[in-house]
Symmetry: C2
Subunit: 211 residues, 2 copies
DNA sequence: CATGATATCGCATAAAAATGCTATATGCTA
DNA sequence: TAGCATATAGCATTTTTATGCGATATCATG
């Protein structure tokens, strides 16, 4: 037998919580060591547990939300991998969870065997992600056009990426192997298309998905 | 019978190409309508195909690379969903592919039945992604802690917010009702604490949650 | 084949940002 | 209380950015 994986659950839907508990405990190498219905309960009890490898938690919890609890949990348990299991599929919640340290993001319609698979993926250095969540992320990297805003060319998008990386004109030129004057020219076109007149605005728009 | 899904392949590994072709054609509702070994061949032949729903392509192709071919393909076939199937798992290639319009990203060790599943996920509005690839993305959103990064003061955080809003020093001074020299001074402190030396880097860090 | 979008490069200049140095006042804390 | 971080402000200089103007070449589209 391999080593046991210790799992904790925070889930206020009692039915789902018990189902998960039973299913995971039924697996040979999984062991549910803590199962609570709120973040508050978790903070009260987690210190009594020797080791938590995986925490599966909801977002829509009573009291402290799952997202707000994330930083505090990661602070106390930096080596625990956290999987969000939730009905929320809006980009804001997804990105917030990831920024605050979640390693995976599953929708509640995920079948039990896929949840098991997700835990195994974590140990294989992967990040389990429901396909619909992954789509949000893909859209972040390749946002849809804003109405009335002109499409940037491939080269212009590359320039934007470089600006977002914090590069100066000189370094952009080096990365793309073009002259600094050409960089200037592209940036001019970008400013015109986006109706801005500073790098700062381009970077902000990029992060806000407005490009 | 449901409607047929038309699939195209660009894969220079002949063995894999033929295996995929056979496997996908064997499925009831899949139909491999084009199967070539290079981007050049694809551009020559794709116009003869009435409809391509899904394109599965490699990155490491002879001649034009898969990544370089992406924008041109999306331009001609904006409604074709593209899945990258490749051995490359470095962040740069992953992000480049996504920025250039790929809808999914699978590693070559993906089993055939998972590839089939991925195609179905695309039609369900999802983005198939190997777990190891998803991990790269998660790390993008939650970068590792920068060692010895100092906490910003309240005033400094206000300045950061103003910079993120795309304001110039002058406008920051106006908003906070302080002199432009004081703004400079605060920004100096911010740069020192964050180990950067441009507005662009501050804004990026802010969006990435590194502040 | 003309037109427009893209991609490249150069020169010049004004505006903004980055940095070096100095200085005063306040509040916290070791 | 001496030291430290914060918040304020000024001046000078260098570097980077923003913008105006001009130019050539390619490619796709009408």
């Amino acid at each position: 037998m391999g080593k046991m994986t210790n799992i904790a659950l925070i889930e206020d839907d009692i039915e789902l919580k018990e189902l998960l508990e039973k299913y995971l405990n039924f697996q040979d190498d999984f062991n549910v060591v803590l199962s609570v219905v709120s973040a508050e309960d978790f903070f009260e009890e987690f210190k009594q547990i020797e080791k938590i490898d995986i925490l599966i938690m909801d977002i829509g919890l009573p009291g402290i939300s799952g997202i707000d609890a994330l930083p505090k949990i990661k602070q106390h348990l930096p080596h625990t991998e956290i999987i969000m299991l939730t009905v929320h599929d809006d980009s804001e919640k997804v990105f917030q969870s990831l920024r605050r340290g979640a390693s995976g993001y599953l929708l509640k319609n995920t079948p039990l065997d896929k949840i098991k698979e997700s835990i195994e993926q974590i140990f294989a250095g992967g990040s389990p992600m429901s396909p619909n969540i992954a789509r949000k992320i893909v859209e972040f990297f390749n946002p849809k056009q804003i109405e009335g805003q002109k499409e940037l060319s491939t080269r212009e998008k590359e320039i934007v990426v470089a600006l977002v990386d914090g590069l100066s004109y000189k370094l952009v030129a080096d990365r793309l192997d073009i002259s600094i004057d050409t960089v200037r020219q592209h940036i001019r076109s970008i400013y015109r298309k986006l109706n801005v007149n500073s790098k700062a605005e381009v970077i902000s728009k990029s992060f806000k998905g407005e490009i």
